[in-house]
Symmetry: D3
Subunit: 323 residues, 6 copies
């Protein structure tokens, strides 16, 4: 069975639990990062760790004093090493790092043995996260703007990657009653500018320039940053600016970025075609360049996994409970 790093030890995945008296469950008080590998090589791990430590600082968790960034990096690689035997050859390692503030003080004396932060590193086959996404690379997402707005930075800062986010779930539920099977929520912030998806960043393309919301009421995604790098390499201009619905409705192309899938085309907004309504040339260029850079056709990989899911080739038991 897969193992989870838990405060310096490895426990079975089914034992990777958090006490009901932990601040994580009493206040949604947990920060996290999620990374992926390409060909089993972790991507931008350092950037993820930097963001994790920035989140900790903002929320006044003394993560640095418990574990340095280097130690954290080492622990991640150790976790991967421990889990590799439970992974298939064509698997990728999706790492999830959770940090909780630990048991609330009144419970520390009563229930707990461990005081202070909990540091948890889990390794999971990426294929599950991207299950069913294969066809979206061809037909694209239909972005739907729900009534739910993004919570602004001043109230609960989305730049801090944290777990107090029922509102993302509310947005997803609102969109789930929409016609069609490729609907993803696209949130407006309380200024009614485009913010982000519920776990992904959003871009439009207009006249060969990339536009994406200012990094204010959004998570500053690592994939989002990487698209900037790719754009520079390709000689494509990009701009962080305030976007509103009109800009999206009249864009040439649009896409989401996120760690598991990198870049995913958005071909319509509320069932109105964006541009031609087809996956556009810029999205294709970005995917191509990204794939080249990491030496992996990640779209083909996702499609391949999806085929295996559909054919029943991937089933649960062998991966989860073996050993």
């Amino acid at each position: 069975m897969r193992k989870v790093y838990y405060n310096g030890k490895f426990v079975d995945e089914t034992e990777a639990n958090v006490s009901i008296y932990d601040s994580a469950l009493m206040f949604g008080d947990m920060i996290f990062e999620m990374t992926r590998s390409f060909n089993k090589k972790q991507f931008r791990l350092k950037e993820h760790l930097q963001r994790l430590y920035a989140s900790a600082k903002y929320l006044r968790m003394n993560l640095e004093s418990v574990m340095t960034m280097d130690e954290m990096e080492k622990a991640v690689y150790e976790t991967i090493k421990v889990n590799e035997p439970f992974f298939n050859d064509d698997d990728e390692h999706r790492i999830m790092i959770d940090v909780t503030r630990g048991l609330l003080s009144i419970y520390q004396e009563v229930v707990g043995t461990h005081k202070g932060l909990n540091i948890i590193i889990a390794d999971f086959p990426l294929r599950w996260t991207v299950r069913g996404m294969g066809e979206l690379f061809d037909k694209g997402i239909n972005a739907v703007i729900p009534s739910q707005r993004a919570i602004p930075a001043s109230l609960l800062d989305p730049k801090v990657k944290n777990r107090s986010r029922i509102h993302y779930l509310m947005a997803n539920m609102q969109v789930s009653n929409y016609e069609g099977d490729n609907n993803w929520a696209l949130l407006l912030d309380t200024d009614n500018f485009i913010a982000e998806g519920t776990g992904d960043n959003f871009f439009i393309v207009k006249d060969d320039v990339l536009y994406t919301p200012e990094p204010r009421n959004i998570l500053r995604g690592i994939s989002r940053e990487y698209v900037f790098e790719i754009a520079k390499e390709l000689g494509v201009q990009y701009c962080e600016c305030n976007l509103d619905v009109y800009d999206v409705a009249n864009a040439d192309e649009a896409f989401m970025t996120g760690t598991p899938f990198c870049v995913l085309p958005v071909t319509s907004l509320d069932r109105q075609k964006i541009g031609t309504g087809e996956v556009g040339p810029m999205v294709k260029r970005l995917i191509k360049k990204w794939s080249d850079n990491v030496g992996l056709d990640f779209v083909a990989q996702i499609k391949d996994w999806n085929k295996k899911f559909d054919s029943g080739e991937i089933t649960v038991s062998p991966y989860s409970f073996k050993n």
Copy 2:
């Protein structure tokens, strides 16, 4: 050791944990209630359960279909019965009911054995929750308005008693750097009306009338409702209305309400006296009436516990890990 009800079974308190892949930890997606007993008799349990089911409905958890309100009530009483042996004679039962949406779908097949909602009922000696509060009944709280604002109902409704609330923690941390040891956060909402504390409701008294914020950007507390009842019994008028800082600064008295402590005086606002700066007659009347109604001088009880804590009479081990 105390036992926790967990999806129909009882587990040791130290085993009352939630998987890192549960929606509760991925999205702060957990609702809860916290109740207390007076003389070991649960207070307003039905009202708490009604609110729990209303929270579930709003968040689209099908709680009703998993467990009816009557069954839940029964489970609470069973939990108390199971735990009573581990409680002292002078203890009160503080019940915490947690409901999580359960494992996210991609993990259900992989990690989980239990699908769907998790229903958890924990029983805990109230004394820990009110530790150190005894003297506040005499000197009162100093309310401090932090920079952090309450998240409004439209973004993440506080009427839904949920666990996505790091912002409460942020408010508490901001206030923690304030001079003195009796500072409690008093939040403004984004309209800059008085909202609530970070886990308690707020009242002022002016010319013998009680005023408390409209039930909009606050939790509609059970203790708050009970103060209305007491007020009716005492022939005291009360009013739910928009309050601003000026109203508090010029009030005659003020107080917080909350399940563990019922009514707690607030004697200053940002170190400026409210009224005389002493605990006022209305607060005393309310505490007296409440005590009479429930047949317990809960203030004396809390002070008694605090004395025992200070004297070392209450220590952790006998209660937590015995058995």
Copy 3:
């Protein structure tokens, strides 16, 4: 063919047009009222006219000086009389009064012959307006809250019944992509309180009390006012207050009011049942009382028309272009 009153004359319905240079088309600068009859007797016509003149005053159209309220009332009755021959026995007269500011000044000299306000009164069989609504009295509306918010009174006052309202159309279009065939938009205002539908007012029922939004960012509907009257007659309490989504989600019943259909049950909010999800007893009482008061079972009437539409008994030609 039906006739339309147009500045003192009657013209064919197909000739009831407005110049492209009229302020109505240049600025959406038109006010209107829509009334209905029960058993061919106009309902609350005076109240509609009062609101029309209030709209005119707010927008600084000198309606009073062109036509007094009494003259307007007379013109309405004359219009009905002229059109009665073209109406079936089981028809009801739906009157639409439009007032435009007339040709913009630069066109008055060039294009127009008529200067100043245009006053237009059209009479139309109500059955067309309520086509397809029959079954909604049984299964109820599914209210959907779109991303589009109501424009607040300070920017373009909805209390003024005017024609600058593309945003209503935007809301309707957003909702049209939602699953199911009984979706109606329910708008939030920019404070995120419940406002109104796109042409109807909204009520909830909780513990036998009626609640409806404060008359601020909504049209103050005549049917809404009439529900207050009925409530008084029935000894039912009602309250105009700020409502938010939580209140609707946890209501016992809900309904829309509007001139053509009077009272229409809302049985779900975003596909989540309101109360039992069935048409509730209060809605039934209100419909019953209204019907009794006007001496017409208007629900049966609407259902009857719908049956005739479905059976092909009602077709267009005989009514529209005869004569």
Copy 4:
């Protein structure tokens, strides 16, 4: 008499009307463009058409499927050709294209013969639109900020050139009670940044740089864009940014841009001089350059027309009802 293109046919200008049952009159649901010629040559027609089609797309009118942009352009030129005989030699063609969604569905069967969009192209002598403006080129506009705010993009997007805009009229009426005869409304948006006039865009000049509001809560005017082009040609810097009243009060110069008059100086703000209170050198340069580019001294032209109006040389009858 002048002819108006109406769904493929030409009708007399006095017959260019819209049914009272058209969505244009029921919802202010009409988009439009207004263009002008210089020396009878249309200016930036393509840009206007692109904006028209963007407006249509945003409002989900299937304009593209009814008429391509090329066909529309052709229809415009045909309309001009048909009308040229009714124009004087010194006239310019002001084209107004209106697109309505057409009759609401319940009326399509009853009243209408035409289903779907109405496409209307009217040609009108520009001189009427700029009547009385001649002297403003010398003394400038007094900008007045009314209480009425611009409706923000999220509620009713001004980037969509539409006819739901009574609020523009409200602003004009508020300003009309102000002392003096050269008052034009200058709207703030709801963030209290400078937005636009009620049909024109606004610029200030400070230290030889042009500043104009960000293209968010305003119409993105074609003349505004053309000023950017001219600025580039002149080597003048320009900036789209958030402006507030302070910036205007302390500007060196200011001006409005609009299709009929191109560039019009604003010499005071609420009767406080802007800069010297005289028409400034930058405004003069822009007007000069624009005139040179189009080969027409449009200021002289407007002044000439105004002289003819004043002298009675231009009268209505010959142009309007001849033929």
Copy 5:
């Protein structure tokens, strides 16, 4: 010459000055009250003093410790007594109490002799304050809503009668450019509800009920409170509620209240008649009742003074510099 009470002494009116290093001039940090007499008897002085002490408390000036409310009252009466010789028989005493925080600390050692609060009581003939108002009782005020909004309570609370209020002056200046000579500013708050004038409260009358803004973003005027008392005496209902422009535009009557003039009719809003455009019966009743209660026809008094001003009977010198 009139004398001013200044920290326990009486100084000449021309010597009643404040150091440029006083907090009053460095921060607008001064609170005040203004009262009047009827027949030389101070009106509601206690209520004014209570408000003054509430203002002091909010701003954390320790007024209570420097001077009790009783001592303040006594000082007021002493000031009147000292000044009475300089007042005419038909004069009324307009008392202005100013409290400043005193010299900023760095200047206390350097410049000042007096440390701490400055308490200043000035007595002035009321006639100057109401000069020119006589005719307004007959023709009424034209209320104009300026672009400037009231500063909300959360930013600078108008319930605290303080001197940081340039924004009132800005509003007055905006309105001063409006046509006519009876224009008074009527401010909206930032929620765009009616707030108050720049020194007066606002009421409307509709169907014989008085409506006035909720006491939130306004000064809670003593005259406003007194109108409530009168209304009770007259059996007239009144209501504190959110009002918007529509409500004013369609009111039957309107009026302002303020200490110098008590009740002043508002007969138009932005030159649109309110009700009949004449002074209405309710305003007359209120003025009559107030006059009866205080035993003085204050309207006649003001008109009489105005007549004397116009006739030159009142001139400056005899009152100001005699002695």
Copy 6:
């Protein structure tokens, strides 16, 4: 004794007062500037005067017509000359220019001899202003974000350097109850972006770039502008942009700018270290460069003064009341 320029004359500092009937005290209606010298040479006096005249223009004081900018400059230098005898050799001249609108009109005839604006120029030893600041250059400021928000430009523009600013005092008082002795208020604006201190501008340093709030809801400080100049000289990039709390929490360094102290390090935010928590290299570079440019080590100067204060070498009497 030091002399103050007062409307063309010099008066004793203790006589530099303003009448209680001046608009400055009735409305907080005063604008001002504060400058300093380095080695007795005034710094950026022209820029200060330009801002003063811009403030006057915005508030519609006709300063220009009373005194030109050149005359004002001359008066400043004259004031310095007159006061130099009362200054020590190691003193610097802190000039404060106040302009008030003068007596309100009703008092002009009665009390006043001077009509119109009051122009006041005071000269004061800078050492008093920076008393106690010496150690802050070593340990830095702890910035605290109070509940009080900055008043936005639309309500009372902070770009106009005026005296209606009790809210600054409120912010200071809120922060004064915070633990520690180096707390300075850092205000958010109502959009919850970082605005400014209560008399100083704020910068952060991140990856060797300077970031400071957009010049919108802040005073556009002269020192702030000068930091831009220095940055250019040093080849350091700077950016005016929207900053939120997250940006500050994760900055490398931070500092305040202000006329008396030029640049002052901010080493923590609400007691959380910014960067290392030490004064950083960029702050040191800026201070060094500034000192070099003005030929004075102003930090050493301030520390020297502070040492003299502590040792009793500086006392009040010799400077203030001599002569």
